[in-house]
């Protein structure tokens, strides 16, 4: 009887260890995240955003006029995003990506992939 109990305990402990190992493995291979930047009132919100390589950024235009999200270093260009439309991109390379609206020079944003 005592021997049987010990066996069950060992099995349980072993399976727990497997679960823990699997969980930490999943943490290392981090799942990519999708971030949303909302355009309203002639502004990007949030105006600055830090993301990880592999993450997706979606620019959603909730403003009354069309806008763009255009990298000032020519790394990306949404071209025209009409009102109620969006544009997205996956960022793989680390770095700083300042961007602006090519129609409205007062609109500026900044993205950091770190």
């Amino acid at each position: 009887m005592a021997r049987r109990l010990l066996q069950v305990t060992v099995v349980l402990l072993a399976s727990t260890a497997v679960t823990v190992a699997a969980a930490s493995g999943a943490q290392r291979a981090r799942k990519p995240v999708t971030h949303t930047i909302t355009i309203t009132g002639m502004q990007y919100t949030p105006a600055t955003l830090a993301i990880k390589p592999g993450d997706t950024v979606v620019w959603v235009n909730k403003d009354i006029v069309a806008h763009t999200a255009t990298s000032t270093a020519a790394a990306f260009n949404s071209h025209m995003i009409p009102p109620e439309k969006s544009w997205k991109m996956v960022f793989k390379t680390k770095g700083d990506y300042p961007y602006a609206c090519s129609y409205h020079p007062t609109m500026k944003g900044s993205l950091t992939v770190q």
Binding site: G41, M42, I64, P83, Y103, H104, T106, M107
Partner: protein, 171 residues
């Protein structure tokens, strides 16, 4: 120089008319919004064809695009709310002021044209923002119309800043 100050005085007086009016209804506000956009579209179209300055041309193109977009939404909302834009003293003087501005601009070219156009754009956007704050937004009865006016305001502010930036580069 003289022409643009005349145009500026014209804008001031027409919005003074709005401010002086006791009550303004949503149909009149709709007409003022549509006319205000239309006037700037007309000036923008002229500047697109008549200016030789790339910055001014680009700005003019943006005015045509943005104000056309705003008008589309204003008309869509008026249709949805079954509001027929109602002509009034303000919309009529806006139209008259716009026609006068375009007529005087047509007689100019080169740097003089650019300066007169941009000076007028600065004054026009400043006055529209003022009218939005003092008369149109507080006066709007329908919540959706009020929300649209609030949503439009930042575009006028960005246009004003853009025009002021160009103004500072023109001699």
């Amino acid at each position: 120089m003289k022409l643009s100050s005349v145009a500026f005085a014209g804008i001031l007086s027409l919005f003074a008319t709005v401010a002086g009016a006791q009550a303004i209804n949503d149909a009149q506000i709709a007409s003022i919004v549509v006319t205000a956009n239309q006037v700037d579209i007309e000036a923008g179209k002229l500047a697109q064809s008549q200016s030789t300055n790339p910055e001014v041309k680009k700005f003019a193109q943006q005015m045509v695009t943005d104000h056309t977009g705003v008008n589309k939404q204003a008309v869509a909302l008026a249709t949805k709310l079954k509001v027929t834009p109602e002509d009034n003293d303000t919309s009529r003087s806006l139209k008259a002021g716009g026609d006068k501005n375009v007529a005087s601009l047509k007689a100019m070219k080169g740097a003089a044209f650019d300066k007169a156009y941009i000076d007028h754009e600065v004054a026009y956007h400043q006055q529209v923002i003022d009218a939005l704050d003092k008369t149109l937004i507080p006066g709007a009865q329908n919540a959706e119309l009020k929300a649209l006016l609030v949503k439009v305001r930042p575009a006028f502010v960005a246009h004003l800043e853009h025009a002021q930036h160009i103004q500072s580069t023109l001699k």
